[in-house]
Symmetry: C2
Subunit: 221 residues, 2 copies
């Protein structure tokens, strides 16, 4: 198995170069691209749908949805009126830059201000495969427990914001918020943090305000 | 990237052979081995701790705990009085047969009736890396949502039982039990299914009864 290490390094190196190519392509058309990552069941799709519903009168939106199987999530995005491309990874546990490169020609980038990417539900592997997005967002959720920054540190290191979803469930869980925050802060000091509920909408305004400020700074330089 | 496919196939083939070697070693000492897999936050550790607490007067137990970082889970197992070996995967998203092979010499297998393995929290990759265990158990949980069998089919195909944990939270979630069950049944017909709460203990007796019947059938042939 030791012989696999250089192979993995080559793959990661190739992915890194292709991520830069993707970024250059997205910058050509000034398409602000946001990559959402989370564990299965953290509420990625619900959070994205509520976010695009709030933004769709302000920006021209499109979506890319990665999944191991099925088109459930892309279908939900399309039903919300957002043009969505499904990447079926065929068993692979993350999106990578090659997959995104293959999807980009299917998106009308010239007519897209903000591109939303929903990564495969996985709290480990996506951290190793940057796609070229301008923002990487990690969605944690209350039911997962407060120890996740300690147990999955790489995912917390490489992102520009952490959302803690499902705060409406805090009364039913022993979720130690201080422990969670300390873990995040140790890995990624000063990281933007948005506790919210995509179901009830509590805390959602602060998240939207931050996201639009990031998008506007990119789109109207 | 196309050149990576044969490499992956070689790795999987090598893993398969080593899993058989592990199984032979476990059978030499008649150590019934159970591999628990789940998404991050499904409650693997809590469920395992409640299970070993119920079984420790009946069997001689030991544990192996896989994690990307930290020894939080192995420490909890050891605190419960079960000798536990931590496998720190150093970023890898699953246990594999090589890692288990390396851990087995650290366990007093001759004095162990039941070996409990807690895999890395991941709903995709562990399905591709059998370890040589006698039972593979998938722990789903109510907060993850009922669509997970459809979205992560490989994990549901390769197991001998599915536990649906955190049933005490059903009142707070729109969890479509029929949809979940139909998904599981399509992938793995007749699969043993245990809805339960590792927190309150509801449903736990049926799971323990099934598990001990499996262990006894192996240990007292």
């Amino acid at each position: 198995m030791t012989t696999t290490v250089p192979v993995v390094e080559n793959i990661l190196g190739a992915n890194e170069r292709l991520a830069q190519t993707n970024r250059a392509r997205l910058d050509e058309t000034r398409t602000f691209t946001v990559n959402f990552m989370a564990s299965p069941g953290a509420g990625k799709t619900s959070l994205i749908l509520r976010t695009v519903a709030a933004l769709k009168d302000r920006y021209r939106l499109a979506g890319v949805d990665g999944d191991v199987a099925t088109t459930i999530d892309a279908d939900r995005m399309a039903a919300a009126g957002i043009p969505a491309v499904q990447i079926n990874t065929g068993g692979s546990c993350h999106l990578d830059a090659v997959m995104l490169q293959g999807a980009l020609p299917q998106i009308a980038l010239e007519d897209t201000d903000v591109l939303v990417i929903e990564n495969v539900g996985n709290l480990i592997c996506p951290a190793n495969f940057p796609l070229g997005a301008h923002l990487n967002i990690l969605i944690a959720s209350v039911p997962e427990g407060a120890d996740k920054p300690y147990k999955y540190p790489n995912m917390y290191r490489g992102v520009q914001a952490v959302i803690l979803n499902k705060t409406d469930l805090l009364p039913y869980f022993d979720f130690d918020m201080d422990y969670f925050r300390r873990g995040v802060e140790a890995l990624n000091p000063g990281l933007a943090f948005f506790p919210l509920s995509a179901k009830t909408g509590e805390g959602f305004d602060a998240w939207l305000s931050w996201l639009t400020s990031q998008a506007d700074a990119y789109l109207t330089p």
